[in-house]
């Protein structure tokens, strides 16, 4: 088993007593490429977040601001299809109060050895009974336009994160494989949702991939490395799986130097100012930093429902 002393130099230098996670948890994250942490979001907060799903997907945005992505709604969405919304914190302060939680950002920073965490984007997912697979992918395929280049994702279980109900699934240790070309479409693939991952495993010389489907109680979460292959299977049960996703970059991250646009900028690239590499806190707030700094407008806008 790998020990702390053998881990990469970027691991946190803070004393374990100050870290929200144990050395063992951090070690497990770097070994597997993911780490489950239970009881992160209080149950009553989970319930309040879940209550926001229906109005949000119906287009009722509390703040009046629309999300970055809004796939599926009751009017024109295919019944039984997956529903996804990104950039939800601007639309709804209940969602924001979790998305901007200092405690979760601090955990993300501890796992990556950062001095602070900046929220890159958030998302909510709903997969009803019969919803199709979500193709396995690596988040870094889509998030590689900034420096330092790391990204870490926290997937929060809200409802029915259980095997068979399209819970999150991982190829254990796959963060050690080479970063693959971006998977173009992960909602509507015409091939197995594991195909791209299996191709990457082969390229990495991995003969047998350890493939895990997680069972996480509501309020628990799983952090995964930006290079870890993950996705979800078809929902074969008569339940609706709901989850929330938070992606973080280092607090000191900047855009790489680009000309008139950020190639592969996905959503974040839209928020880069011409001739300026800064990741502006208006668009990418700093949720936790070890010196106590936190983007000021968050206090008035949404507070923090998790770190109470």
């Amino acid at each position: 088993m790998q020990t702390i002393s053998e881990l990469p130099a970027k691991l946190p230098v803070k004393s374990p007593a100050k870290s929200p996670l144990t050395s063992k948890q951090i070690e497990q994250f770097h070994r597997d490429g993911f780490l489950v942490v239970e009881d992160v979001v209080p149950t009553d907060v989970v319930d309040r977040v879940v209550e926001r799903f229906e109005p949000l997907f119906s287009g009722e945005f509390e703040t009046g601001t629309y999300p970055d992505e809004w796939h599926w709604n009751p009017q024109i969405g295919k019944p039984g299809a997956a529903a996804q919304m990104t950039g939800v914190w601007r639309c709804d302060r209940t969602i924001a109060s979790v998305a901007m939680a200092a405690k979760i950002g601090q955990m993300a920073a501890a796992l990556e050895g950062w001095s602070g965490a900046r929220l890159l984007t958030d998302g909510i997912w709903q997969k009803p009974s019969g919803a199709k697979e979500t193709t396995l992918h690596q988040d870094s395929m889509y998030v590689n336009y900034h420096t330092p280049t790391e990204v870490i994702t926290c997937w929060i279980a809200l409802r029915n994160a259980i095997p068979g109900a399209s819970t999150i699934e991982y190829a254990r240790g796959s963060h050690q494989w080479k970063l693959s070309q971006a998977v173009a479409e992960f909602h509507n693939q015409d091939k197995s949702h594991l195909a791209e991952m299996e191709k990457a495993a082969k390229a990495a010389g991995v003969e047998k991939t350890e493939f895990v489907q997680l069972s996480i109680p509501p309020g628990g979460c799983v952090f995964h490395h930006g290079n870890t292959w993950h996705g979800s299977g078809k929902n074969t049960l008569n339940v609706i799986r709901k989850s929330m996703v938070l992606a973080y970059v280092p607090a000191d991250a900047r855009f790489k130097p680009y000309d008139t646009f950020v190639p592969g900028g996905y959503i974040a690239g839209k928020y880069r100012r011409q001739g300026d590499d800064a990741m502006d806190e208006s668009f990418f707030p700093i949720v936790w930093r070890e010196d106590g700094y936190r983007t000021p407008f968050l206090a008035d806008f949404c507070g923090d429902a998790v770190s109470r």
Partner: protein
């Protein structure tokens, strides 16, 4: 109230493309709230734009940047859903050549009497056979977070748009009605798609059965819409897909309202929460001014296909 019959407006005139609008054209725009300009785009330009839609809706974005708004995503939506995408200029530089056209901005500004125009919204509307109705609305409703809260739209037909194919329906003169509107999800309303219009009729105290004009145009022709003009569209009852591309402009001097005023819609996402009220030219470039200024990066980013 029953829908009024489709009565063509006897005063509707069709003008040919010219470098400048005549005083009569401008007067008609202000009297009626709309103006048709034939052959704004050539057949080749129409084909060039249409060719970009298949890759865009298949998640193949030339720049790798996602749009601002996207409905009707394949696999997640009903097969007859209207395919709508806004903010295409960030995803595709061919679409940008039209969305950021200085000539369209100039035409828009000229009709409104502005001394300059900046990008507001660009959007494509693809209505396949049996695509549902689009609720009546006023475009200015969607810019209430901006000061001044005014927008003008150049709506370009990319196919033969007819009454049967669910073309745009407008109510001439309704831009002068004193009535309110609310931001709502416009696609496939469960109720009568003209219900917001009937409510406006009641509120404004105008004649009970206003004239509703179906805009019928050939590919490449355009309709200029005042931001307060009531418009919507019916179901596509033909076996052909109806396509259009809309380029909306704001006055160059537009800025944000103070925080908390107006409905944020897409615009508020780009607000510098920690800064001033200005609309950043990186996100809302100035495309034409009568003193010759244009946001510098635009010419490096894309062609200006309609430049004289």
């Amino acid at each position: 109230m029953m829908p009024s019959p489709m009565v063509p407006d006897q005063q509707t005139q069709v003008f040919s493309t010219s470098a400048r609008f005549t005083p009569a054209q401008i007067a008609q725009f202000h009297a009626q709230g709309y103006l048709i300009l034939e052959n704004l785009l050539s057949s080749a330009q129409v084909e060039q734009l249409i060719a970009r839609f298949a890759p865009l809706f298949n998640t193949q974005f030339e720049t790798g940047i996602y749009p601002d708004e996207w409905y009707g995503r394949p696999g997640l939506s009903e097969p007859n859903a209207t395919q709508y995408m806004a903010g295409l200029w960030r995803c595709d530089r061919t679409a940008a050549a039209y969305a950021l056209s200085s000539e369209i901005a100039r035409l828009n500004a000229t009709l409104m009497g502005w001394d300059g125009a900046r990008y507001g919204i660009d959007a494509c509307w693809i209505k396949p056979p049996n695509a549902p109705e689009v609720s009546f609305h006023r475009n200015n409703t969607y810019v209430s977070v901006l000061e001044p809260s005014t927008i003008i739209t150049c709506w370009i037909a990319l196919s033969n748009v007819t009454a049967e194919a669910g073309t745009l329906e407008i109510v001439p003169g309704s831009h002068r009605w004193n009535c309110s509107d609310a931001v709502r999800f416009l696609h496939a309303p469960k109720d009568d798609y003209r219900a917001p219009l009937w409510q406006a009729v009641k509120e404004a105290g105008v004649e009970e059965h206003p004239t509703i004009v179906n805009i019928e145009m050939t590919p490449g022709s355009s309709l200029f819409l005042h931001g307060d003009l009531w418009h919507g569209s019916g179901r596509n009852l033909t076996d052909k897909t109806r396509r259009s591309f809309a380029v909306s402009s704001l006055p160059a001097r537009t800025q944000f309202q103070p925080l908390g005023v107006g409905t944020g819609y897409i615009f508020n996402r780009y607000r510098n929460i920690m800064g001033d009220l200005s609309l950043d030219e990186s996100f809302y470039p100035i495309l034409w001014t009568n003193d010759g200024y244009k946001t510098p990066f635009v010419d490096d980013y894309c062609q200006d296909v309609l430049a004289p």
